[in-house]
Symmetry: C2
Subunit: 156 residues, 2 copies
Amino acid sequence: MSTGLDDIDRKVLTCLMRDGRATYAEIGQEVDLSAPAAKRRVDRLRAEGVIQGFTAVIDPSVVGWVTEAYVEVYCSGKVSPTQLRRQFQAVPEVISACTISGSADAMLHLVAEEVQDLERAIGLVRNEDNIEQTRSAIVLSRLFDRPVGPRGRSEG
Amino acid sequence: MSTGLDDIDRKVLTCLMRDGRATYAEIGQEVDLSAPAAKRRVDRLRAEGVIQGFTAVIDPSVVGWVTEAYVEVYCSGKVSPTQLRRQFQAVPEVISACTISGSADAMLHLVAEEVQDLERAIGLVRNEDNIEQTRSAIVLSRLFDRPVGPRGRSEG
DNA sequence: GTTGAAAAGTGAACTCG
DNA sequence: CGAGTTCACTTTTCAAC
């Protein structure tokens, strides 16, 4: 599986992350390629799984998914990532889960419409034998969000 | 400014979040509307800011943005959200920032290519007068991620 | 990269509550 | 009038070469 991206591929990705509905002619213009050539790039990137899909970016506050929380999870005994994935995925409010370094074992990101939905979801997470405790932080206000993308690293 | 979404609007959003490059004919088919009518819906949702844009979903591991961390930030004295936004936004590795409830004041989500990039970025964050301490958790393995969208709430 | 047929986008005139 | 539809016309897609 050689997913070696060349410079043109990276530019194509940048272009599509900025505007997921860009036409192939527009993409081609940015990378000095004809529209069909640009399309072949995009098709290949999709086939390789580099581009997993396209999506609309929605203002969460308008749609009513406004309540968020970050939850640290402390587990007891041995914890298999597979097992954790399965039980966290069962809670629909959990939109992201990962294992982390430090005293906690996992970090969850939850999104819901109401605080009580969060409460219930966190209750479900805690309600498993292998979960020892959780430490939740409700999001008061989101300062900003930006897409992951090719971007300069900080200098310091 | 009444941004009241009706049932059709929500279906349009769901459709575009599942496939950001869906044609207007496809969208129309899902909501029993003609293609031009579907386009007018989408145009209105964009104009209202409900749809903020379209983007490609990229596999981060392929592109090399593999190292992630969650960082709790403890501030001293009065903290203006505007000020916090400005100083966190200055660090390119910070892809998401919010104020939170609990003992910490803010939660940051960082993504970088290498652990030392994270280290440098966290150093930059700490290097402000109003930052008292930080508490970082490096992401060991991402268990799953899923888009925010209209979705069932957990029952419990 | 180029070409051409098929598909999608887009504005205008029209219709219905 | 706001919202949907059909209809012409342009642009884009996409599978040849």
